[in-house]
C-alpha cells in the first residue's frame, strides 16, 4: 500500500498496547487513527485502571511470549520491571538508523520526566547518571501545581501563596472567612494517598526519605515539618478530608467546598469542564509554593517495550511517533499532558488551554527524586501512608510517627541488602 519510508516494512502489522484508563491516554486514543493512516500499522488498545494495569503487567511480563507490544507503566513500576529485566533497553532502537527518526529531538523532552520515568541504572539506581540507560519514554507525565479560587481569594483579599507559610495561613484563614468552605482539599486517605500527600510537601520543605547512603532521614526536622503541614492542611480542609482520595479532593474543589487544591496538572481539564465542575473559569493556577526550596512532584506514566513483545520494532516506531513533537502536540490538543517543552510553548495549545504556560513553568522545578523508586518502595510507601493516616486521624505525634517509619524502613532496607556495602 501507499505507506512509504521507514514504516513500509511494518505496514499491516497490528500492535497490541496496554495503557491505563487516564485522561491522557484517552487523548492518545484520539490520535491513534492518525498514526495508522500515516503508517499502515494497526493498533489495538487494551485500556485498564492503572493499579490493575500494573498488576496485570506484572504477571504478563513474566510470560515467555507476551500479549503486549508496548506498555504504558506507572512511574513506580520502573524499578520492578527494570530490576526484573523485563523492559527493552531503548538504546539499540535509537542506534538503528532504519528505525530512529533523526528529527526526534530528544533534548526537547522534559528532563525531569525523563529522569524520573525513563532512565534507570544511574545515581541511586533509579536516577540518571553515567551508568544509567533509557528504558522508557515519559508519556502522560504530571507535576503538581496549586489551583485556587480566584474569586474567593479576591473577595477576601488573600494573596496567592508563594511559600509554605502563606499557603498554610491561607488554608486556615479561608474556613474562617468563608462559611462552609475548606481551605485546601488534599489527599489523605490511609495508604498510598496519605503518603503521596506527605511526600508532596516533604521535597519543597527540604526533606528526603533517604540520605545518599540509604539511611532513612524521613524523621528529621523537614519530615516533621511536612507532616505538620499536611496535618494543618487537612484540619483546615473541608469536612471529611481525612478520607479523601484524589477524586474526592478534586470533587471538593470543583464543587466549591474548598478554595485550593494542590495536586497533579491532570485534574485541570476537569475543573474547566462546566458539565462536571461548578468552578469553571474561576480557577487560577500557580506554582507549587516554595518551602526551603522549590520542588514539585513528578509522576504519571511512561511507555516502554516489554522484553517478551512480539513486534518490538514496530512498537518502537509507535513510541517514537507518539512522543515526537507532532504526536505530543496532537495529544496535548486533545487534552493530554505534554512531555515536551516545545509543546508547552505552542501558541495553539496556550490559546486553547490558558493554564499551559504555568504548567510549563512548573516543570522547571519538577523534582525527579521526590520519592525513591526502588523495589522496596511499595512497602515503605504503604507504611508512611498508614502512619500518616494515624497522625491525621488519631492524633499520633508526628515525630514519634516518623521515627517509627524510619525504624521500620531501616529494617526493610537492611533486609533488602542496601547496607551491604557499609
Amino acid at each position: 500500500d501507499g505507506h512509504g519510508g521507514p514504516y513500509a516494512p511494518y505496514a499491516g502489522t497490528t500492535l497490541v498496547i496496554n495503557v491505563p484508563a487516564h485522561p491522557h491516554y484517552n487523548a492518545m486514543m484520539k490520535v491513534l487513527p492518525e498514526f495508522t493512516k500515516e503508517t499502515g500499522i494497526e493498533v489495538e488498545v487494551d485500556q485498564l485502571q492503572y493499579l490493575k494495569m500494573r498488576e496485570r503487567q506484572t504477571l504478563e511480563l513474566t510470560k515467555d511470549e507476551g500479549d503486549y507490544d508496548m506498555i504504558a507503566y506507572v512511574v513506580f513500576s520502573k524499578a520492578d520491571y527494570v530490576f526484573a529485566d523485563q523492559l527493552e533497553n531503548l538504546a539499540k532502537y535509537f542506534m538503528n538508523p532504519k528505525l530512529s527518526d533523526p528529527n526526534y529531538d530528544a533534548e526537547d523532552l522534559i528532563d525531569g520526566y525523563v529522569a524520573n520515568i525513563g532512565v534507570a541504572g544511574g545515581k541511586k539506581g533509579y536516577l540518571p547518571g553515567q551508568t544509567g540507560s533509557l528504558f522508557g519514554i515519559p508519556y502522560g507525565s504530571e507535576t503538581s501545581v496549586l489551583a485556587y479560587r480566584k474569586d474567593i481569594f479576591e473577595k477576601h483579599g488573600i494573596d496567592v501563596p508563594q511559600n509554605y507559610d502563606q499557603l498554610l495561613d491561607a488554608a486556615c484563614k479561608i474556613p474562617e472567612v468563608e462559611e462552609g468552605m475548606g481551605g485546601m482539599a488534599s489527599r489523605a486517605a490511609s495508604g498510598h494517598q496519605a503518603s503521596h500527600a506527605f511526600l508532596l510537601h516533604l521535597a519543597p520543605l527540604g526533606g528526603r526519605v533517604f540520605d545518599d547512603n540509604w539511611n532513612p532521614i524521613i524523621n528529621n526536622e523537614a519530615g516533621v515539618a511536612a507532616a505538620n503541614a499536611l496535618k494543618t492542611i487537612v484540619d483546615c480542609g473541608p469536612e471529611g478530608s481525612q478520607t479523601f482520595g484524589p477524586a474526592e479532593a478534586a470533587a471538593s474543589f470543583s464543587q466549591g467546598t474548598s478554595a485550593m487544591f494542590m495536586d497533579s496538572i491532570a485534574f485541570a481539564a476537569g475543573f474547566e469542564d462546566p458539565s462536571k465542575s461548578k468552578v469553571a473559569g474561576k480557577v487560577g493556577y500557580a506554582l507549587h509554593p516554595e518551602g526551603v526550596r522549590r520542588g514539585s512532584q513528578t509522576g504519571g506514566f511512561g511507555i516502554a517495550i516489554p522484553k517478551n513483545a512480539q513486534n518490538k520494532e514496530a512498537a518502537f516506531l509507535l513510541m517514537q511517533w507518539l512522543t515526537s513533537k507532532k504526536g505530543d502536540l496532537m495529544a496535548a490538543m486533545n487534552g493530554g499532558n505534554p512531555s515536551r517543552f516545545s509543546t508547552y510553548q505552542d501558541a495553539g495549545l496556550n490559546a486553547k488551554y490558558p493554564y499551559s504556560a504555568t504548567f510549563g513553568e512548573a516543570l522547571k522545578y519538577a523534582d525527579p527524586d521526590w520519592r525513591p523508586i526502588i523495589p522496596t518502595w511499595g512497602k515503605i510507601n504503604a507504611d508512611i501512608g498508614t502512619t500518616m493516616s494515624q497522625v491525621l486521624t488519631e492524633g499520633l505525634d508526628p515525630q514519634e510517627a516518623l521515627d517509627g517509619v524510619a525504624a521500620r524502613a531501616k529494617d526493610i532496607m537492611s533486609e533488602a541488602g542496601y547496607y551491604t556495602w557499609q
Binding site: 511480563l61 520492578d80 478520607t243 486521624t393
Partner: protein, 304 residues
Amino acid sequence: MQSANVNRLTPYLFLAPAALIMAVALLYPIGYMIYASFLDWNPSQRIGEADFVGLRNYVNLLSDAAFLESFWVTIKFAAIVVSVEMFIGVGLALLLDRNIRGMSLLRTLFILPMMIAPIVVGLMWRYMYHPTVGIFNRTLKSLGFETVPWLSDGSWAFASVVIADVWQWTPFIFILSLAALQSLPQSAMEASRIDGATGWQQIIHIKLPLMMPVLIVTLLLRLIDAFKVLEVILVLTNGGPGLSTEILSLRISRTASEFRELGEAAAMSNFLLILLMLLTFGMFFYNKAVEVRAARLRAAAEED
C-alpha cells in the same frame, strides 16, 4: 440408614469430578502457595527464580506490629459481623416464613443486596458515607444533628465497614435459613401447634433444632467469608484510617500487589488458614463429640 450393597465405586464416581477439579484448580495452587511461603518471591519473578528463605517470612510476621494489629482487627470484624448477621438473618427468615401475599417478591428483595458486586457496594456506601453529600450526613444535618465522621475516624470507620458488610451479607444467612426452614417437615410443625407451642416455642424447640445442620454450615461459611472480605473495605477505607479497618485479607492483598512480597503474603495466608482451620475443626469436633455423647447415652440407656 445406610444403604446396602452399594457398588464400591459409586461414591468415588460421584466424587470424582469434584475431586479432580478441586485438586487441579485449588489444591495444586494452594500447595504452590504453601511452598511460596518459604520463598522470597516477588511477582515479577517466576517461582523457580525465587530464593528459598525457610521460615523467615513467618518469623518476620510475628514481630510485625502492623500484621498483628490487622490480625486482631480481623478477628474483631469477623466476630461482630457474623454474630450480627446470624441474628438478623435467621430472625428475618423466621419472620418471613409465612404464607402472605407477595412473599416471593419480598424474599427476592431481601436477597438483592448480596447480588450487587462488592466493588459497587463499596462505592455505593462510600457515596452514602460521603461527609457532605452522603445521605447519612445530609439527613443528620437536615434533622439538626451533628454530622458523623463515618470514614474519617477509626472507630466510626470500623462501624461503617461493619454496617456495610451486614447490609450486604445478612441476605446470605437469610436465604439459607429460609430455604432450610421451608424444607422442614410440615407435619412436625403442625404437631407442635397442637401441642400448645406458641410461635416462640415453635421456633426454639422445633424450627431452630431442625435447622441446626444448615445453620452451622452457614455460620462456618460466613465466618470464613468474613475473614476474606476485601473489595468493600478496599474501596471504603483502604484499611484506614490508620490500620483501624485493615483486615488480614486486605493486608495480604496489599502485601502481594503493593509490597510485592508474595512469600510474605503466602505466609500470612497460611496464618489465616491455620486460624480458620482451628475454628472449623473446633466446631466440627464439637459436633462430633455431641453426637458421640448422645449415642453413648442411648447405648447406656439400652443396656439397663
